[in-house]
């Protein structure tokens, strides 16, 4: 096979070979060439506000500890003992000055430095002078607007360069608060019995919005008597390096200053004030973009940030071609008043998350795709051509442009690995 995509810009046809969703060799190449070389989201700085705060994280298949060390630096440590390998932190989160491996009782400061073990007279005097017995930290650890990323490739380009056009969209989130954004409690850990790339596609796909989520929009229509026709209007954009976005108007309330009739009049007044403040700070155009427009952002390969009826960041990783593990975060302004916060959270869970009125239907759609890929030998290609025939200025939100930017980058990376013959199968 030469390529996993068929990209015909003359006849406006774009196809993806379905083996990318089922093949174990593809997964092995993804682990080596994508999850070991791209910048991967590990969490948000607000998750570890105090020195000693830590959280266990699984990123790119690795067991990590995100910790704010005694020197106030945030680090990502590999959660494995340099002695004989046991997982060191066993609680999911906490605050600690030291990490202690229970197996042989080696202890480490919360920056990973070895501070003691029983019977150290059995080791040479220069033991660990080179630091090799400290807990290892991920070398490449960088942040943008409070979003923290790791990269397991020491030679990777900087996060700043990697994020390319996606930075503008993280800025639009940061501008929603004067005191910064924070992750709320209860990160949702769930799974889908489907290939991880199906979730990337689905997360910035307006085309499925109305058919898949009809029951949700029926409820919105019932709640808002002025809502005559439900639509999602906007455009998609390639943000470089495989990242993409759809930006659009939608018939739901946004806790950042777009009121909806399920909220009371006080909240309406609050939101008018918020909007005024945004206009004062950013001018009419950017204020409207922040308040009235929605954004589904894909940061290659596995981070989705949806700035919609609430803000969710979701990251996921494949444990097999047909199974992904997902982490869903909710972000909100730190200084948000509590009435407002409750409205936001209700907005979130009505649509999003494993108990929402929409996310479970997405889950089902993905699982049905995966199940039907049993027919891959005879039915080989997915069509991702929608809107390809349109000129750039006529692109619509329900087109599949942002997916094509993902697939082109995906294919480029996998092809490069095949040319080198490199495989860690």
């Amino acid at each position: 096979m030469n390529s996993y995509i068929f990209d015909d810009k003359v006849n406006n046809e774009f196809l993806v070979n379905r083996t990318v969703f089922t093949d174990r060799e593809v997964l092995a190449r993804e682990r080596a060439e994508i999850f070991s070389k791209c910048w991967l989201f590990i969490g948000h700085e607000s998750e570890v506000p105090e020195k000693g705060d830590y959280k266990r994280k699984k990123v790119g298949g690795r067991n990590l500890i995100l910790v704010r060390s005694h020197d106030n630096e945030i680090r990502a440590l590999y959660n494995t003992c340099p002695h004989r390998g046991a997982l060191i932190a066993r609680e999911n989160e906490g605050n600690s000055r030291v990490f202690r491996c229970f197996y042989h009782a080696w202890s480490f400061k919360n920056d990973g430095c070895l501070v003691g073990m029983p019977g150290n007279d059995a080791y040479p005097e220069d033991f660990n002078n080179d630091g090799s017995k400290n807990m290892k930290a991920v070398n490449r650890f960088e942040s943008y607007q409070g979003f923290l990323f790791v990269n397991f490739d020491d030679n990777a380009i900087s996060l700043n360069e990697y994020l390319a056009g996606a930075k503008e969209y993280l800025d639009l989130i940061a501008d929603q608060s004067e005191s910064g954004m924070e992750v709320l409690g209860g990160v949702q850990e769930y799974s889908v019995r489907a290939n991880w790339k199906l979730l990337t596609e689905n997360s910035a796909d307006l085309y499925h919005g109305l058919p898949t989520h009809k029951t949700y929009f029926d409820i919105k229509q019932e709640q808002d008597p002025d809502l005559k026709k439900v639509g999602l209007f906007g455009y998609g954009k390639d943000l470089g390096n495989g990242h993409g976005v759809v930006e659009y108007r939608a018939p739901w309330g946004r806790p950042i200053a777009q009121w909806t009739p399920i909220w009371d009049e006080n909240l309406k007044k609050d939101m008018e004030r918020m909007k005024e403040r945004l206009i004062e700070k950013f001018g009419e155009e950017r204020a409207s973009r922040i308040a009235d427009w929605n954004r589904n952002i894909v940061i290659f390969p596995n981070l989705v940030i949806n700035d919609i009826m609430a803000i969710t960041a979701r990251t996921f990783y494949p444990t097999s071609p047909g199974y992904l593990e997902s982490y869903g975060y909710s972000l909100a302004p730190k200084d948000e008043n509590m009435v407002h916060r409750l409205a936001r959270n209700n907005n979130f869970l009505e649509f999003l998350g494993p108990g929402g009125f929409a996310t479970p239907d997405d889950n089902e759609a993905l699982e049905l795709c995966q199940e039907a890929y049993n027919n891959n030998l005879e039915v080989q290609w997915n069509d991702v051509s929608r809107g390809m025939k349109r000129d750039a200025e006529d692109i619509e939100g329900t087109d599949e442009l942002q997916m094509r930017s993902f697939w082109r980058e995906f294919d480029r990376r996998i092809q490069e690995s095949m040319r080198k013959g490199a495989s860690k199968v």
Partner: protein, 162 residues
Amino acid sequence: MKVENITKEDITEFLYKEAYILDDWNLKEWASLFTDDGTYKIPPLGRPNADPKEAIFFVHDDRERLQHRAERLLKKEAHVEYPHSTTVRNYHNIMVENLGSEIITVRCNFTTYRTKREVIDTFVGYNVYNIIPINSELWIKNKKVVLKHDSLRPHGKISLIL
């Protein structure tokens, strides 16, 4: 049914009735078990007493939304539950407090099995109910479902009413 005459057996029967109503997909009837100010909640894993302002619940339904939830799941366009999954709900270790008072508190463990497309998912945890007797009938004022899972894997969703 007078408040002072309600027995633990009455409460147990009522809970079993709720479980069968859900297993039989009579979801509108389920919603009608709730008082006008009834609530149905599923807090985040490991945080049964979380504050809904500080943490994201899986479900945080007031009476209106639990009605929406019930009606939505009966629609053909609630794709995740179409065709309907098959479920078995077992309630056990039922403990009843405050018999004889206006609000009866019940805690019980549950095991709920969901089968769809030849896959069985199991949900375990406990429910906390506030039940009130009005006009010789029992009503649910609050139902809180506390899941005892480390994550929602491999289920991936709570598409059912638990």
